[in-house]
C-alpha cells in the first residue's frame, strides 16, 4: 500500500472519529460537561443496528434509521434522568455521574446481550475504485461521504435555523440566553438528541469497518474521539471535524510507518505536543483571563 491509500483510510477512520467528536464537542459547548457515556451510546447504536440487520433482516438504511431513533431517545432520557438534576453541581460531580451512566450501559448490555462478540454482517458491497494507483473501497468512500454530509447538515442547522441560533446563544452565554427567552433545558435536550443520533451513524460506519459488536465496543473510539474534540478545540464544531480527521490520519500513518503496537502512544503524544503549542486546541477559543 502506498502513501495515498494510507491517507484515504486515515481519512475514513478520521471521519468516524469526527462524527463521534461532534457529539462530545456540542455537549461540551452547551452543557459544559464531559459526557463520558457518549462512547457507550455508540455501543448501544451498534447493537440496535446489528439486531435490525441480522435478526429482522432490515436493509441498511432503515436499520441505521432505527439505530438513530433509539440512540436519540436514549440520549435524551439519559440527560433527563441523570444529568438534569445536576445542572448546578460541580463539573466533577457531573463527570462522575457520566461515568456511572457509562458503567450502567456497559453492564446492562452485558446482561441483556452477553459479553460474547457478535459479528456484524457485511452491509456494503465489497469493491473498490482505483484512484491514482491506489484502490479505495466503497466503504471508505461512503464513510468519508457520510461524514461530509453530516458536517454540512450540522453547519447549516447551527447557522441557519432558529434552534441553531438558540444553541449558539446558549454556548456563548447561558444567562443571557435565558433572559432572551430561550428555553435552555430544551436546547440541552436537543443537543443531546443530535449528539446521540450522530453516535448511531458513527456506530454503523465503525461496525462496517471493524465488524465485531461487544459491550465495551464504545470505550476506545470514545476516548479517541474525545481526544479529537480536544485536539481541534473542544466546543468548536469545525474543530471536532478537523481534529477527528487529523487523528485518524495520524493513527493510520503511525500504524503503517512506525509500529502498530505504539500507534496509540503516538496519537496521544501528538495531542500533547499540539496542546503545548496551542493550549486550547487547533480551533479553540483563546480564553483571556480577567483580573
Amino acid at each position: 500500500m502506498g502513501f495515498l491509500s494510507y491517507l484515504v483510510s486515515g481519512l475514513s477512520l478520521g471521519s468516524v472519529y469526527a462524527i463521534i467528536a461532534l457529539g462530545y464537542t456540542m455537549v461540551y459547548g452547551i452543557a459544559k460537561m464531559l459526557n463520558f457515556a457518549h462512547g457507550d451510546v455508540i455501543m448501544i447504536g451498534a447493537y440496535v443496528a446489528f439486531f435490525a440487520l441480522s435478526n429482522f433482516g432490515l436493509p441498511i438504511i432503515p436499520a441505521t434509521l432505527l439505530s438513530i431513533v433509539v440512540c436519540t431517545l436514549l440520549g435524551v432520557i439519559i440527560e433527563r434522568l441523570a444529568y438534569k438534576p445536576l445542572r448546578d453541581a460541580s463539573s466533577l460531580s457531573v463527570l462522575i455521574t457520566a461515568i456511572g451512566v457509562s458503567y450502567f450501559l456497559q453492564n446492562g448490555a452485558q446482561i441483556i446481550w452477553s459479553s460474547s462478540t457478535k459479528v456484524f454482517p457485511a452491509i456494503f458491497q465489497s469493491g473498490s475504485v482505483s484512484l491514482g494507483g491506489a484502490s479505495i473501497s466503497y466503504l471508505t468512500l461512503i464513510t468519508i461521504g457520510v461524514c461530509l454530509i453530516v458536517m454540512a447538515a450540522l453547519t447549516l442547522f447551527i447557522n441557519k435555523t432558529r434552534t441553531g441560533a438558540a444553541m449558539r446563544a446558549c454556548s456563548e452565554d447561558k444567562g443571557a440566553a435565558i433572559l432572551m427567552g430561550i428555553n435552555v433545558n430544551h436546547i440541552i435536550s436537543v443537543t443531546f438528541a443530535i449528539g446521540s443520533g450522530l453516535a448511531a451513524i458513527a456506530s454503523v460506519l465503525l461496525c462496517a469497518a471493524y465488524p465485531s459488536v461487544y459491550p465495551t465496543l464504545g470505550a476506545m473510539p470514545g476516548i479517541k474521539a474525545f481526544t479529537a474534540a480536544v485536539f481541534g478545540g473542544i466546543g468548536s464544531i469545525p474543530g471536532a471535524f478537523l481534529g477527528g480527521l487529523l487523528l485518524g490520519v495520524i493513527e493510520i500513518f503511525a500504524k503503517a510507518y512506525v509500529s502498530t503496537q505504539l500507534s496509540d502512544a503516538i496519537v496521544f503524544a501528538v495531542l500533547i505536543v499540539v496542546l503545548l503549542i496551542k493550549p486550547t486546541g487547533l480551533l479553540g477559543k483563546k480564553i483571556d483571563e480577567k483580573v
Binding site: 460531580s93 456511572g100 450502567f104 453492564n107 476516548i223 505504539l262 502512544a265 496521544f268 503545548l276 483571563e289
Partner: protein, 355 residues
C-alpha cells in the same frame, strides 16, 4: 457543659476530621487483623485487604492533586503502573541478594516511588502549563502513553546480565534466566511479598505526608493557587513549582500504591492499569469529598467492598453499583433534594429538639 463539648467538636472540624482518619485506619486494622488471625475472615475478604490499602494510598495521592491542588488528573493509574512494574522488577532482581521479604518489599516500594517521581517530573512540566479540561485530557493521554510503553517493554536477566528490548522480544535469555517484564503478558511468577500491615503503614505515612504538606507554607500556596491563580501569582507564589510539588507527591503515592499492588499478585498485566482504573480511583476521591482524606478512605473501603456484598446478585452487581454511583451523585449535589433530605439529618433533629 454539654454545649461546650459540642461546639468545640464542631468548631475544630478540620482537626477532628484528621484524628478520625487516623483512628479509622488503626481501628479497622486492629479489627481486621485480629479477625484474620483468628480465622474469622473469609478468604475472599482477606484477598481484598491489600488491594484496598493500595487503592486508599493512590486515592489519597489523587485527592491531593484533585482536591487540594484543583487539577483534574485522569492518569493516576499510569503512576501506579510505573510503580508496580518497577517494584516487581526490583524485587525480582534482588530475590537472591536480599532474602528478607520485608526489606525487599520496602526497597521495592521506595524504588516504585522514585520511578513514579521521575515520570511525574517529566509529565508534570507539560501538564501543569495547561488548565481545566485541557489539563485533564493531557493526563489521560499520558496515562495511555505509559500503558502503551509498558505493554511493549521486554526486560529480563540471566547469568550474562540484564537484557532489555522494546516492541519486539529480542531478549533471548539463557536457560535459568527470568523475564521480569514480558510485554503485554506483564510480570509473571512474582513472589507475593505484600501484606496488609505494610499497606496500613503506607496509608498512615501518606496521611502524615499529606496533612503536613497541607499545613506547611507550600500547602497554603497550593490551595491559594487553586482558589485564585492570578491573585496567588501576584502575591509572589511560583504557580508552576507549587503545583508541581502536589503533582509529584500525588505521583509518588500512586507509585508506592502500585509497587504494593504489583507484589500482591503472582501475575500482573499492564492492561490492569488502564483508563478505567484511573477513573475508579477518581470516583473514590469525588465520592469521599474533594480535599477530604477521611472521606476518601471511607469511600474507597465502601466501594471496594460494595461489589463483593452484591455478589449474591451475580450479573446484576455492577449494574447496581452504577445505579448507586449515579444516585449518590444526584442525592449529594441536587439542591432541591438536599433541602428535602436535610430534614432527616442528625444535625437538624438535634437543632429541632433545642428549638
Amino acid at each position: 457543659m454539654a454545649k461546650s463539648i459540642f461546639s468545640s467538636l464542631f468548631q475544630n472540624a478540620q482537626k477532628r476530621n484528621r484524628t478520625v482518619s487516623f483512628l479509622i485506619v488503626i481501628i479497622a486494622y486492629a479489627v481486621l487483623e485480629s479477625m484474620m488471625r483468628s480465622g474469622n475472615l473469609s478468604s475472599l475478604f482477606t484477598s481484598l485487604l491489600v488491594p484496598m490499602t493500595c487503592y486508599i494510598v493512590a486515592a489519597i495521592g489523587l485527592n491531593l492533586n484533585v482536591g487540594i491542588s484543583g487539577e483534574l488528573n485522569l492518569g493516576q493509574a499510569g503512576f501506579m503502573s510505573v510503580g508496580a512494574f518497577t517494584g516487581v522488577s526490583i524485587s525480582g532482581l534482588l530475590a537472591n541478594t536480599v532474602p528478607n521479604d520485608t526489606v525487599r518489599l520496602i526497597i521495592a516500594i521506595i524504588s516504585g516511588i522514585v520511578a513514579a517521581a521521575i515520570f511525574g517530573l517529566i509529565i508534570g512540566v507539560p501538564v501543569l502549563k495547561l488548565q481545566g479540561d485541557y489539563l485533564a485530557i493531557v493526563t489521560l493521554a499520558f496515562g495511555q502513553i505509559l500503558k502503551s510503553i509498558i505493554t511493549n517493554i521486554y526486560f529480563g536477566f540471566d547469568s550474562a546480565g540484564l537484557h532489555f528490548s522494546f516492541v519486539e522480544n529480542k531478549t533471548s535469555l539463557l536457560p535459568g534466566g527470568k523475564m521480569l517484564m514480558n510485554g503485554p503478558m506483564g510480570a509473571t511468577g512474582t513472589n507475593k511479598i505484600s501484606n496488609f500491615t505494610t499497606g496500613v503503614i503506607l496509608i498512615l505515612l501518606s496521611l502524615i505526608v499529606v496533612y503536613n504538606l497541607m499545613d506547611s507554607k507550600s500547602g497554603r500556596a497550593i490551595m491559594a493557587a487553586r482558589d485564585n491563580r492570578i491573585a496567588a501569582e501576584s502575591t509572589g507564589i511560583p504557580i508552576l513549582s507549587t503545583k508541581m510539588l502536589s503533582f509529584l507527591v500525588s505521583a509518588c503515592l500512586g507509585g508506592a500504591a502500585g509497587a504494593l499492588y504489583g507484589l500482591n499478585y503472582s501475575t500482573l498485566v499492564p492492561a490492569k492499569f488502564d483508563f478505567n482504573t484511573s477513573i475508579l480511583i477518581l470516583v473514590y476521591v469525588v465520592l469521599g469529598g474533594l480535599g477530604n482524606m477521611t472521606g476518601t478512605i471511607i469511600a474507597t473501603i465502601v466501594l471496594v467492598l460494595l461489589p463483593e456484598f452484591l455478589r449474591s446478585m451475580q450479573d446484576y452487581r455492577m449494574l447496581i453499583y452504577a445505579i448507586v454511583l449515579i444516585l449518590i451523585m444526584i442525592l449529594t449535589n441536587n439542591e432541591d433534594l438536599k433541602v428535602r433530605m436535610s430534614r432527616f439529618s442528625l444535625k437538624s433533629i438535634l437543632m429541632r429538639k433545642k428549638g
